[in-house]
């Protein structure tokens, strides 16, 4: 492995989405933006829904849409299969996709459908923006029993967020 690179893999429950030797890994956690370089201190952090960028030693960076997950950075000898001290970054996400694999028309349709649903359910539940977002995503939840409409609203909001993340990431690819 060339100097200044480290092993990056993006794993989802259905498949290993991506694996490469990277120069940098750029993502956003609940505490703010984060850039991982070779030799980064070991860290476990959550990953906020949004774009994750992997800078490769050569060529264009790889962009992924990640819908919430965790990042685990480890350092130790032989972690990348090579000699010497090395860094390994593992990103775990329930749902994630490569920017190139995003179906933009489909995401647009999904966004329109989710928007309509959210509007409708917000009127029913009388809830404002973002209040139901806690029930989904990376924050656990489950302490209060929500009504079926609230659960559905949370799901619709999650759908909407996913569609928005997809479009944002796909847009970044085409404009870059």
């Amino acid at each position: 492995m060339p100097d200044g690179t480290f092993a990056v893999s993006v794993l989802t429950p259905v498949a290993e989405l991506f694996r490469a030797d990277a120069r940098a890994l750029v993502l956003r956690s609940s505490d703010g933006d984060l850039t991982i370089l070779d030799g980064h201190t070991p860290i476990v952090t959550d990953v906020a829904p949004g774009e994750v960028r992997v800078d490769l030693p050569e060529g264009d960076p790889v962009r992924l849409a990640v819908h919430g997950g965790y990042l685990h950075v480890e350092t130790g000898p032989g972690l990348d299969g090579g000699e010497g001290r090395s860094t390994r970054a593992t990103l775990l996400a329930g749902i994630a996709e490569l920017a190139t694999a995003i179906d933009v028309p489909r995401a647009e349709r999904a966004r329109a459908a989710a928007e309509a649903r959210v509007e409708e359910l917000r009127a029913v539940t009388g809830r404002g923006e973002g209040t139901a977002a806690r029930a989904e995503g990376t924050s656990g939840g489950g302490d209060v029993a929500p009504t079926p409409e609230e659960i559905e609203l949370a799901q619709a909001e999650a759908d909407l967020r996913r569609a928005e993340v997809r479009l944002e990431v796909a847009g970044a690819t085409t404009s870059a």
């Binding site: 893999s9 794993l11 989802t12 429950p13 259905v14 498949a15 290993e16 956690s29 609940s30 505490d31 984060l34 201190t41 070991p42 860290i43 476990v44 952090t45 959550d46 965790y70 685990h72 480890e74 350092t75 130790g76 000898p77 032989g78 972690l79 593992t90 775990l92 329930g94 749902i95 990376t138 924050s139 656990g140 489950g142 302490d143 029993a145």
Partner: protein, 287 residues
């Protein structure tokens, strides 16, 4: 009989192709599951006190949630019944100890079994067992985690079939929540952690990280169990259908033999009658 054999043979072949497909998914799921286990180990080391609430054995059990995973369809030999029997036994044991049980099930075959035996089922899911999707696992995980996080139950158990190899699928009971003590099934992760030996940072703090991580780990566990269950189901079905085809073969052979003998008997009798008749005629002429 011939047509029955055709059906069982077809089901056998379909099951065989489904085994391959579900095994591919089991393999594809493995890195995620191991990665998840390593993070939990890391977080548990980071803050043992916070971890104690979500990890290890419960101190005492007053109420337990049990999740049983079976298939939506039958015709798979002992696959469903062995899980259901194990679950029933577990529920009976827990009840005997005076522990209240909340039973959750996945698979169409479960609710009717327990209704017949008057075991109440809190919630049952259908339609996820053959080609489980990640969202299915999330849904089921949310349902079984809720009573634990609300403090209604002290433990969540999972009864499902583990796919060890093509020849061996075992029904086992494992603890979902609190998260099982790491180390037992993450030998690989533990080894690399020992090597790194460094200080790991956490963002946000370990306690909130663990709180959000635990449901994800449960989702991952359930998803893996669903995938392995599907693989085991198809294996069991293939085996059952292969046996059924063999049976049909044998039945066809026996029936053909019986048929032939009956026909032969009829022919022999007929010949005897003709010969007897001819003989009688000859004798009456000669007389």
């Amino acid at each position: 009989m011939q047509s029955t054999k055709k059906i069982t043979k077809a089901m056998e072949l379909i099951a065989a192709s489904q085994i391959v497909r579900s095994l591919t998914r089991v393999t594809a799921n493995r890195p995620y599951r191991e990665g998840m286990a390593r993070i939990v180990v890391e977080a548990a080391k980071g803050d043992p006190t916070a971890a104690a609430k979500l990890l290890g054995e419960p101190d005492e059990r007053h109420a337990v949630a049990v999740l049983a995973i079976v298939a939506d369809r039958g015709l798979s030999g002992p696959y469903n019944s062995s899980i259901l029997r194990a679950t029933e036994r577990l529920v009976a044991e827990l009840s005997a100890e005076g522990i209240a049980v909340q039973l959750f099930t996945i698979g169409k075959k479960a609710p009717s079994y327990f209704r017949f035996r008057h075991v109440p089922v809190v919630r049952s899911f259908i339609g996820m067992s053959e080609r489980p999707a990640w969202s299915d696992a999330r849904e089921a995980a949310a349902a079984v985690s809720a009573p634990f996080l609300a403090g209604e139950v002290d433990q969540v158990l999972l009864v499902s079939t583990r796919y060890r190899s093509a020849g061996s699928q075992v029904v086992d009971v494992r603890q979902l929540l609190p998260l099982p003590e790491p180390g037992s099934h993450v030998a690989d992760g533990a080894a690399s952690d020992a090597e790194s030996g460094g200080y790991t940072e956490f963002e946000p703090d370990v306690e909130s990280l663990l709180a959000s991580l635990a449901p994800r780990a449960v989702e991952s566990e359930i998803f893996t169990a669903l995938l392995e269950g599907a693989a085991s189901f198809f294996t069991a079905q293939q085996r059952a259908m292969a046996a059924a085809s063999d049976n049909a073969d044998e039945l066809i052979r026996t029936l053909t033999r019986v048929m032939n003998r009956a026909r032969q008997d009829a022919i022999t009798t007929e010949i005897m009658e003709i010969v007897g008749g001819a003989e009688a005629l000859r004798q009456s002429k000669g007389a």
